[in-house]
Chain length 407, copies 2
Amino acid sequence: MADLEFIKKLVLPAQTKIVFLVMDGVGGLPMEEGGPTELEAARTPNLDELARRSSCGFTIPISPGITPGSGPGHLGIFGYDPCRFVIGRGVLEALGIDFDLQPQDVAARGNFCSVDDQGRVTDRRAGRISTDKCVELTTLLRKKVKVPGVDIFVEPVKEHRFVLVLRGEGLGGEVTESDPQQLGIAPLRIEPLASTSNPKASQRTAALANEFVDQAREALKHERPANMVLLRGLDKRPEIPTMQEAFGLRAAAIAVYPMYRGLAKLVGMDALSSGTTLSDEFDMLERAWPDYDFFYLHYKYTDSRGEDGDFQAKVSVIEEFDRFVPRALALKPDVLVVTGDHSTPALLRAHSWHPVPTMMYSRYCRCDDAQQYSERACSRGALGNIRAVDLIPLALANALRLAKFGA
Amino acid sequence: MADLEFIKKLVLPAQTKIVFLVMDGVGGLPMEEGGPTELEAARTPNLDELARRSSCGFTIPISPGITPGSGPGHLGIFGYDPCRFVIGRGVLEALGIDFDLQPQDVAARGNFCSVDDQGRVTDRRAGRISTDKCVELTTLLRKKVKVPGVDIFVEPVKEHRFVLVLRGEGLGGEVTESDPQQLGIAPLRIEPLASTSNPKASQRTAALANEFVDQAREALKHERPANMVLLRGLDKRPEIPTMQEAFGLRAAAIAVYPMYRGLAKLVGMDALSSGTTLSDEFDMLERAWPDYDFFYLHYKYTDSRGEDGDFQAKVSVIEEFDRFVPRALALKPDVLVVTGDHSTPALLRAHSWHPVPTMMYSRYCRCDDAQQYSERACSRGALGNIRAVDLIPLALANALRLAKFGA
């Protein structure tokens, strides 16, 4: 793989435009041996027409056999090695609720939980309290808990989940978790990781997080069943060069769900207001067309229906997406990529390790025998099996945005 | 490639079972342009039926153009980067005679050779003395040579070849060889490598090895033609995490030849007693089925017949192997892989660099257009060209033994 520093030196100024249409979890599997995958079952005349004009193949999100979460899956297609830039659980949760995380912040994923009178965890999710209750309890914590020297933010998520953000100078992200991941023992004290690169900053975070936990226990002591909190995945935002810095792209994200807008903002994209429907998203693509070089348009429901295990519903949302493809083509992008951040076969009801059917159209792509956008057709494609992180360099090349390497 | 530490963090406990059927040197070439390869010429209905239900493609043992020996070829398919874990010639030779090599041992490949009255090498193989003579001379050396402070083992191999093992505390493996690799000059003194990470330990090994050589010269001085020894490839076993540690697999090896059992033991597999025939090997696979998660079953003769340059004989042993495939399938493995450690085309009469036809069957594999297990069919497969070292992570994923990376 060509790394960021290598690519950066080759980046040329240009007026060309690149569009990435990302169907989350688009790759699939047959429900029974010999049957079609979701893409193969879907009627997708526009995607198939595009496939005939494109280089088709697969992207491997991380490496063979590795199933990515949404964070690593997206970093890869944005051109950043997901093994080098790691996004903590707390950071991802904060992005998921549209929290405006600053570079110095430490974010944690919190659970309201139940403990017995000895302080031992009896339910790590406090019986999955209602979201209303979660809002009530986070409001209580905001009022009662004061940690000296930092601002704290306690934000409700859903059911028993909340986000804690510590904001202040000199905080480190390399600390352990308080969640013991099992019942019958007390929450753990948060400590600097043995491997921390900045012991003083991690020590400070650990002390402040423990202070938060102690005050939260006191504030919640009369609550039932949620009388305690657990913290996991404490971390800062990874330091990532922006897509402008790394690739010379003015980049915009069009995504309905906060987490994907948040991931895009991590790499310096502008997250445009994208409404709630595909139609809203393509409206925004057209409106913002003059203002950016790179557009990431995210479609969530291919993943959602895959996670539901609903093969037919996934087929339907693929067909829905297909109807919008001509609107992207009508803008005459120099490079148009259709891909996903990972596969989510309905058969598995989960993200999977399978390579993602991917096609790249440009004036300069090599066409192949693929007559459809599907797993079987892409296995005959000219793109081959490439790593997701190589998509951006390849798109830049097709957009004539990369200089020759060496003389 | 995902490295061992990365994979280890993702390993999940599971009850699923993985079988690797390894036909040594299975990949081939046509004897004349336009002709079939060995696999294409062989009638293999069972392998072909499996190919239709599998993801087919190629494994690249090391990297394009690199021909592996048996050691690196096997380490790769066991999931260990062969460029990171290097097996010395002496260690491989010791494994090949079923010598129970301990972690602190240093093993060397020895040759009986001929020297003139000035001590200059006149024949590096002493006219390829008989194996009987080799046994007689190693018995002599065992009796006459006493190196203080260590136990020494002098084991006959075949013709002029023997294995020397030094066993004791504080030995290092980073030393030079005594074999000058040319005639007319005296054997070289063994020295610590300039790059040694432990000069004291390597110095100790060098001194002891030189002492062995000096005493061997004395013991052999009246022998003809084998009146001296040469030592090559002195080394310790590489320190390799076991497959249990690295991948969470209770692993068993079923292999007739000692070297392959030895390679399997290097990575912590139990080497089961495997008889002498394929029938014996599949009997053992069935008997051991409840006790392990991972089975490596090795078939030697595809390589042997390739090295003989006997195309038809290689075709026949492939057909022989094919008849046993249903017995593996009948056990209902969650993942069944058919591969080789490298190619051995009869045309080349040797190991080669060619990618190895490989197929992976599981409930979750993506099928493709490959209708046969052969070089030509695998080039249409969904597996693509992957590195051999990625096979294990991919098999673990298909066995639902790997957690998602990142949230």
